[in-house]
């Protein structure tokens, strides 16, 4: 039985070798390719009409006469490539082809530098120095790279609830407050407006002091979806104005908290009613604040919030020593007379 199986294998191998009438001269299977290079084959096929060369499925060139070769620019990609040569012969009635795969080029060792920004409110009689604070991340001491007394240019996103319950002048008051208080932001800040009900609109860029058109309150509430939709790698202050809970989000509380609790986003909120636990956690985790107001005090509350953001310290450190998952940040004063009012509590590392 063993002998018969072996014979069959040998026959198949012979057939395969015969079918391979096309062989690559360059590049060779498994070679590495980058930039301009020649692709060349030889073939024992007679009456060749043309040889078509395809790279990664796209026709790259045609050779009509031997030597069957073309010049091709593989570009700067380090990826592997699939190269096929198709030989047409006998008046395009027959075709034979061969395919090789080049090897991916491996880049040198990469280093992941993860700079964590910690916005914080601090009460101190003297100007604060980096040496006045100690930072630990999951208990591991970290080295402070910088402590700045101004917050630096940032992206501000006003995340405004336009659900049906924001009627009775609440939504109008929110839009008016943004128009009147946004001039407090720096000239180089970027400002976006995201309106949400059961659906979330795309972020729309607005100018400082721009009068915002009235929007009819309608529909349900997808607060978690709205906050998760604005996450970027940019330093972002999300200022949420809402009147309460969440009825329609597709994303869960834990997933939304994980999405927004990164190293660059701070969630502040003005709640016209009862704050949800989710919003409290979002503000606490990211070092933001949550205040309550009503339609008549909303503008004052927003002004106080922006002035508070403008007066915050920002501490930078390069995270080390921890794996992925939740990283808890603890900042402690190293001398008397310093009170840390609030600061980012941690973030999710992926």
């Amino acid at each position: 039985m063993k002998r018969i199986a072996l014979v069959i294998i040998n026959v198949l191998a012979a057939v395969a070798a015969q079918a391979a009438n096309v062989s690559f001269v360059t590049p060779q299977n498994g070679a590495q390719t980058i930039g301009p290079a020649l692709i060349e084959i030889t073939t024992s096929v007679a009456n060749v009409d043309r040889v078509e060369f395809s790279v990664d499925g796209a026709l790259a060139g045609v050779a009509r006469k031997p030597p069957y070769r073309i010049a091709h620019d593989f570009g700067t990609s380090l990826a592997a490539h699939s190269i096929t040569a198709k030989v047409w012969s006998n008046g395009f009635r027959n075709s034979d082809e061969a395919t090789i795969r080049t090897a991916a080029l491996t880049a040198g060792e990469t280093m992941n530098v993860e700079v964590v920004e910690v916005p914080m409110r601090v009460r101190s009689a003297q100007r604060l120095q980096a040496s006045d604070l100690r930072v630990t991340e999951n208990g591991i001491p970290q080295t402070i790279r910088e402590l700045r007394a101004d917050r630096g240019a940032a992206r501000f996103v006003f995340v405004v609830d336009r659900s049906l319950s924001m009627g009775d002048g609440k939504l109008d008051a929110a839009l008016r407050a943004i128009a009147s208080e946004s001039p407090l932001l720096r000239n180089d800040d970027r400002i976006d407006l995201v309106l949400f009900n059961h659906n979330v609109t795309k972020a729309k860029a607005i100018r400082r002091g721009e009068q915002l058109p009235s929007v009819p309150p309608s529909g349900g509430t997808s607060l978690r979806d709205a906050l998760a939709s604005i996450v970027t790698r940019e330093r972002t202050y999300a200022i949420v104005i809402t009147d309460g809970g969440d009825r329609n989000s597709a994303i869960s509380e834990s997933a939304a908290l994980r999405a927004i609790s990164n190293t660059k986003m701070i969630v502040d909120a003005i709640v016209l009613g009862d704050a949800s636990n989710f919003l409290r956690d979002a503000a606490t985790n990211t070092g933001g604040t949550l205040v309550t107001a009503d339609a008549s005090t909303l503008q004052r509350a927003l002004r106080a919030l922006i002035l508070d953001i403008n007066s915050r310290y920002t501490l930078d450190y390069q995270s080390h020593g921890n794996g992925s998952g939740w990283r808890s940040i603890v900042i402690t004063p190293q001398r008397r007379g310093i009170e840390i009012v609030n600061a980012r509590k941690g973030y999710y590392a992926r």
Partner: protein, 486 residues
Amino acid sequence: MRRLLIAIAFVATPAFAQTTRIASDFEIAQMQQQLARSHDFLSQLSGHLNLGDARLTRGESTLARREYAQAYELAAHERLDARRASDLARYATATSYAALAEGKLGRDAHAFELSEEAIRYESGEAKTWNLYASTMSLLGKPAKAASASRNAVALARRDLAQSPGLDNRLDLAVYEYALASALNETGQAREAEQLLVEVTSSLRSPDFDFVRAQIAHLEAFESYSSARGQAAAYISLLNRSQLRLAALYESRGDAERARRQYENVLAARSDDPTALAGIARLSQSGEHFAEAFDANPFSLSLVRDYQRYLATHRDEQAEGDSAGARMRRVLIAMNRGDLHTAKTALDQLDQQFPDNDTLRTLRADLNKPSELPSFLRAGATTATPSASDLRSLIALFNDDRLTPEQRMALDKLTMTNVAQFDDAGSENHQTIFEKGDIDGVRFRFSEPMAFNGDFAAHAPLRLTYRVLGASNDELLLEPIQLEGAR
């Protein structure tokens, strides 16, 4: 409790057809919760009927039929139980619902038979007449639907006169809406309009302040064809009445009044797919089409409206990764003749939304075999092909449908066209080009080619070439000569 299931009056809404969540996702989620939580006959029945209707608006007819079949099974079972209990009124109601479900399943004869039986058992109830009218409308018998609806309205007016409560007001409005729909179908647009205006005015009156407060408290916005409870019935009825009025104005060419009605609908629900599609159609604006596609990417009527729009907007772009944006990219690529791009985008949508009728229809459009360009048929040695000829050629290459003879003919054929190149490099009075387009059809050479003379990029130049092949939506050309366009 009386308003357990507001009689099914909304079946004949115009081509119903939502932004990254499709609008009907919300109705589907609510109905799935209802089915899981409430096990009484009417909750289960309305759940399946509403799910079927929601599925149908997004081109998911297989799933819709499954829901309608379950609704029919429920109604058939209820009929048997009612007969055993000798409860004639319950039997008639169940029979009416069975007829409606059969109508939705396209089993017209049985639906008709069941409707007739139901009305024989219970002809003194407005609800039964309304269900009868709904089924007749489904069966394409608008005259019968209209006369049945008149009976329902007459009985409801009597009930309201006897007991002027909120439930009876809402019932009357439902039946008037159904009558207006049937009248519209029979060409009696004036009376239909008058009724619809009455319905919307009545719903906006202080009589319904209580329901509106309830809706605001619940932040309810979902719209159903089989609505349960005052809030859901109010929202659905106001929504459909305004949409019906808008469609009526639009068909009459009164764009301004149609737009106002669509805007009224959007003020209550910012992602209503029918109103967004209406606004897009009236405004002929790419932004509005984008919103309408996000609300419902799979409305075939919206697809056709957009295709008409694209015919005069060749530079349209679709950004974003919502299903609506991806659907628009398919249509934009189809319109430009970039069939490979269209097929690739359609394949991706197919994976996410399998068994979708609209995607299937578009695939059939895409798979219509390309015409063989005339120069390949005539055995010519030179040609000046049109953009359409070149696109057909790309499709033939991509589908590997060229015969050996056609390949031979093409290999010998020299073509000339006015081409524009993307970028130009130059040295020693030579210009280097690599890619460009011929009347919108993309092409490239296998490597950058140097042409004698100084030529500008993005300027019309006369290119003589041979076609080597095509990949995706791009031709690979072998240049023979380049000169200034005369």
